[in-house]
Amino acid sequence: MESAFKRIHWPKLLATILFAIVGLIFIMPFLWMISASFKLESDVLKFPIEWIPSTWNAVENYNEVWFGAKSFALYYWNSIKISVFTTIVSSVFSCFAAYAFAKINFKGRDLLFLVVLSTYMIPPQAIVIPQYLIYSSSGLIDSHLGLILLNSFSAFGTFMLRQFFVSVHDEVIESARMDGAGHIRTFFSIALPLIKPAIATYAILRFIWTWNDYQNPLIFLRSDSLYTIQIGIKQFADAHGSIFSLMMAAAVSAIVPLLIVFIIGQKQVIEGIALGGVKG
């Protein structure tokens, strides 16, 4: 008992308490958002702030967001579809390219790798106009397929996964090749399983970035029925701009599911970020 008591490091405990308070202030915008989304509109801007609503209006607010004139259910479905497919397609393309750049000794490899890397430097905003022109002349405007393709060629993914393939020992690959396995089989049965955690990290990051993307859906989608959640909340806010409780319920609906994904995959996300030093 006494020794357990001694093991508590008091300055550390004090710093923890202090940091808990700072952390609470830091996430106050989130707490306020959640609290406001449960309130009657007339209580939202009351001061002092009622952190726990005196009158609950949660069911009515969320009902209006999810099943009202602008249906979040549909926006959600669209966002899930686009994010899942973008993640899959982009991971597949990046994995293939990364493996070749790391483990296949083909002519012109370094030059081609440099070409892919150079695309990492190009900001999406500098190419959005020509992309729009290409899309409008090929019928990809206002389609989910177009939006999915737009984010499917990731230099970052290729670069990051290549690092992991490089760290797979050559002997492992070569012994498989000796046994007569072709590149395809070596890739699927030997190399890919070895870097699963890295792929998971990339996939989670790509999912989060696609889910939160506002600019591309804004420019490339036209029909309300195709809108993603990000366009959806903006539409909703424009329609209910002065009804803050509904706006906050919409914001919660956009943020919270992703926070859950993040908290489940936090280890992968945080390690991935630390590893790649990236910004989407």
Partner: protein, 296 residues
């Protein structure tokens, strides 16, 4: 003979593996960047169609540098750069304490990381209400604390850009803290132990061990921070739309407005070319600077 057959096989496999990535990048990224340069020298707009386009040389660029909104945006963008050093300073301090000084380290990482992964659109909508000049919770709190001249935040030409900057710092801190913690964990503990034997103070250790040894990360975050300020689109278009009176506009927003609202394709392309060139210069400086002042 056998070797060359193997080599041939390797070549074919290699090209097949990289083909999707390479083709996609060529069509959707490399060709567009070249096209941007060409378009920036035309007076094309979406309305007249391709037939009505004329080559105008550098006229668009000349016009941009006497366009007061563009220049205002450029100035704002340079003011926006202030978020980088401020954010890095706060992040390093947070990272040092979280890394060694507190319990529940992982929980703190998650808390500070939350804004970074949250939808920017949703965050902008929340802050629109929080920053409401008369009834918003922030100003009500300030008034309750006895401050009489509360800022007008996003409704005021003096404060709109400041509001944007505060939100950027808030959303970026988590990302920077994570990278700093990763860097701190790579510092050999013996360095601190040796300094402790010599009776070094905490400040001394921070200044002479921690700060120099995390410079590669600081440098990376500095460059990335600078680059990202040139891309702050979602936040500004939802929060302020560049207003009031263009007080919070930046070039990327103006480019979007010129291209997709005014439909001036050529003129907007000139803005995107300038953005691209600025980022190329920054990347070049990064490449140069990395050799010069980063302690590995």
């Amino acid at each position: 003979m056998l070797l060359s057959k193997n080599q041939l096989r390797d070549n074919v496999a290699g090209y097949l593996f990289v083909a999707p990535m390479l083709l996609g990048s060529a069509v959707l990224i490399l060709f567009p960047i070249v096209a941007s340069f060409i378009l920036s020298m035309t007076d094309w707009n979406f309305v007249t169609g391709l037939a009505g386009a004329n080559f105008v040389g550098l006229d668009n660029f000349a016009a941009l540098f006497s366009d007061s909104v563009f220049l205002k945006g450029l100035t704002n963008n340079f003011i926006l750069l202030l978020v980088v050093p401020i954010g890095l300073f706060l992040s390093l301090i947070l990272a040092v304490v979280i890394n060694k000084g507190v319990y529940f380290k992982d929980t703190f990482k998650v808390i500070y990381f939350m804004p970074y992964i949250s939808s920017t659109v949703a965050i902008a909508l929340v802050f629109q209400v929080l920053f409401h000049p008369t009834q918003g919770p922030i100003n009500q709190t300030l008034m309750a604390l006895g401050i009489e001249n509360v800022p007008g935040w996003i409704a005021s030409t003096d404060w709109a850009l400041v509001s944007v900057m505060l939100i950027i710092i808030w959303t970026q801190i988590g990302f920077q803290v994570i990278l700093y913690i990763a860097a701190l964990q790579n510092i050999p503990p013996q360095l601190y132990e040796a300094a402790e034997v010599d009776g070094a103070s905490m400040w001394y250790k921070f200044k002479n061990i921690t700060v120099p040894l995390v410079t590669p990360t600081t440098f990376l975050l500095l460059i990335q921070g600078i680059v990202s300020t040139f891309k702050v689109f979602d936040l500004i278009i939802v929060l302020t739309e560049g207003g009031p009176a263009n007080s919070s506009t930046i070039p990327v927003l103006y480019m979007y407005q010129q291209a997709f609202e005014e439909l001036k394709t050529g003129y907007a392309s000139a803005i995107s070319v300038i953005l691209f060139l600025i980022l190329v210069v920054i990347t070049f400086l990064q490449w140069m600077g990395q050799k010069k002042w980063v302690n590995y």
